[in-house]
């Protein structure tokens, strides 16, 4: 009983990330920026081929400098127009020589709600506890040395 304790989720979570922002734009506009794969790719920095279809995988190359060789596979799970979009992917699947397909994925969810002066967006990525140890360490290293810095540079460029 104790090992399967329902209180386990009270331990500091290493499994999920949750982020909430209010965007000063109508819900319809935000929905298009997320659910239209071309628009999604613009801010996410990936050149996606084809539209998002529930149950289908959309592929694309990253457009972040030095990561253009990275192919991203977004396995679209659920599309509820104007309010919910979700996909699964392999976080930090950045080595083209490795086959990540058999490894567990994380679930990324976008939840849209009307808010004062715009749209409240909640982004949740969960399932990290199932990601193999080696990948987590790899991601940790990438974050330390590369990707974070790249993103900062791009931000400066566009702003």
């Amino acid at each position: 009983m104790a090992v399967q304790t329902p209180n386990a989720q009270d331990a500091p979570s290493t499994d999920r990330i949750e982020k909430r922002v209010v965007l000063r734009a109508p819900q319809t506009r935000v929905w298009r920026a997320i659910s239209n794969s071309k628009e999604f790719g613009t801010w996410f920095r990936v050149n996606l081929e084809g539209a998002f279809i529930a149950g289908a995988t959309t592929k694309g190359k990253m457009t972040i400098p030095k990561y253009e060789h990275v192919t991203v596979d977004l396995q679209v799970e659920r599309i509820e127009p104007e309010r919910y979009f979700s996909y699964r992917w392999h976080p930090y699947a950045i080595d083209p020589a490795k086959d990540y397909s058999a490894e567990p994925t994380t679930l990324v969810e976008f939840i849209l709600e009307e808010a004062d002066g715009g749209t409240a967006l909640t982004i949740i990525e969960s399932g990290f506890d199932k990601i193999p140890l080696a990948r987590r360490v790899e991601a940790f290293r990438m974050n330390d040395q590369g990707w974070g810095g790249q993103i900062k540079a791009i931000e400066k460029y566009v702003s």
Binding site: A2, K19, V30
Partner: protein, 115 residues
């Protein structure tokens, strides 16, 4: 440059045992139990689990090696408790991914608000 690289390498090496320790359901459950109920003896931790005391002991030492828990004597009893500082290290991994989502959300914000 080389200094920051070796700092990063140190941090990666530092994180490895933490992830090894967390990569097991029983060990995660033990951490959950200790974070909710506070310091507990091996007897208490193994009660009703269907896992032997020997196995629980082995898992606790694995968590101890990673610096996630430590044992202490309380009266005549040996108890195990969380080492919260080390758990913070595991959180850093998610913090960094969260920082990337912050950046992505900022770009989305600029995209929908300017367009």
């Amino acid at each position: 440059m080389s200094r920051s690289r070796s700092t990063a390498a140190l941090r990666v090496a530092d994180a490895v045992p933490v992830f090894v320790a967390l990569g097991d359901e029983t060990r995660l459950s033990l951490l959950g139990r200790l974070s909710v109920d506070g310091p507990l003896s091996i007897t208490r931790l193994s009660e009703g689990t269907g896992v032997t005391r020997q196995a629980i002991t082995r898992h606790l030492y694995a968590l101890g090696d990673a610096g996630l828990v430590r044992n202490a004597r309380r009266g005549r009893e040996m108890v195990w408790e969380l080492d919260a500082k080390r758990l913070e290290k595991a959180r850093q991994y998610l913090d960094q991914i969260a920082a990337q989502w912050d950046d992505a959300a900022d770009r989305l914000k600029a995209f929908v608000e300017d367009g």
